[in-house]
C-alpha cells in the first residue's frame, strides 16, 4: 500500500513556464511534508518543506500549496530553468519528524530551453 503518491511520473515544461508537481497521502498522522530534489548521481537534497498547520510555503521560485482536507499538496516551480531538471520527491512524516519519512516514487522534471 503506497501511502504517498506523486503525479505525474514525468513532466516536461519550457523554460520560463511554471511546473506543477502533485502529491497526495493517505495517513492522517502525517503532518510534515518535505520536498527533495535529486540530480543524477547525487543524493536527494531538501528543497522546501511545509507543516500541516500551513496551507502555503514560499521560497523564491518554489511554492508548496497544501490542502489538509483533501490530503493533497503540490509543488509549483515558477519561471522554470534548465537547471531545475531533476527528480523531485514528495515525502511525509508524522509528528513533525524526519525519523519515519515515507517517500513518493518521484516526478522527473525536464525543462527545455
Amino acid at each position: 500500500q503506497q501511502q504517498v503518491r506523486q503525479s505525474p511520473q514525468s513532466l516536461t515544461v519550457w523554460e520560463g513556464e511554471t511546473a506543477i508537481l502533485n502529491c497526495s497521502y493517505e495517513n492522517s498522522a502525517f503532518d510534515y511534508f518535505p520536498w527533495y530534489q535529486q540530480f543524477p548521481g547525487e543524493g536527494p537534497a531538501l528543497l522546501i518543506s511545509i507543516l500541516s498547520v500551513s496551507n502555503k510555503k514560499e521560497d523564491g521560485r518554489f511554492t508548496i500549496f497544501f490542502n489538509k482536507r483533501e490530503k493533497k499538496l503540490s509543488l509549483h516551480i515558477a519561471d522554470s530553468q534548465p537547471g531545475d531538471s531533476a527528480t523531485y520527491f514528495c515525502a511525509a512524516g508524522p509528528g513533525g519528524s524526519n525519523a519515519k519519512l515515507t517517500f513518493g516514487k518521484g516526478t522527473k522534471l525536464s525543462v527545455k530551453s
Binding site: 518535505p34 543524493g43 537534497a45 524526519n98 517517500f103 518521484g106
Partner: protein, 112 residues
C-alpha cells in the same frame, strides 16, 4: 564543508558474500539513516540510528544489520548478499529528528 561521505561509491559482489557499506558525517549529527533507492520506487528506510548503539528498524530491515560505534560513523552490513539487494544505498544524517536531513551521494551495489 558539511557533508555525508559514503564508501565505496560502486561495489560488485557475488551472491552469498558479505557486504559492508560505510558512512561518515562531519556535522556531529545525532541521527543517521540508511535508505535504499530502486528505480521508480523512491527511497525506503532500512534503519535509523538515534545515537551510538541506539538503532531502530525502518520499513525494510530484513537482510540488513547496522553498526554505530562512533557518532560520526554508521555502517550497513549485508550478511550473505542476495541478488534482490542490488540497489543504490543512501546514508543520511540530521542533527535531530526535526531538522534537515543531509544525504550522501550513494553507493551503487550490484549483487551477481
Amino acid at each position: 564543508d558539511m557533508k555525508v561521505t559514503q564508501m565505496p561509491r560502486y561495489l560488485i559482489k557475488r551472491m552469498g558474500e558479505n557486504v559492508l557499506l560505510e558512512c561518515g558525517q562531519d556535522m556531529s549529527h545525532e541521527t543517521m539513516y540508511w535508505y535504499r533507492q530502486d528505480p521508480g520506487l523512491g527511497l525506503q528506510l532500512i534503519y535509523i540510528s538515534y545515537d551510538v548503539d541506539s538503532n531502530s528498524e525502518g520499513d525494510i530491515p530484513k537482510g540488513y544489520r547496522v553498526s554505530r560505534k562512533k557518532r560520526e560513523h554508521f555502517s550497513l552490513i549485508l550478511d550473505s548478499a542476495k541478488t534482490n539487494q542490488t540497489s543504490v544505498y543512501f546514508c543520511a544524517s540530521s542533527l535531530g529528528q526535526n531538522t534537515e536531513v543531509f544525504f550522501g551521494k550513494g553507493t551503487r551495489l550490484t549483487v551477481v
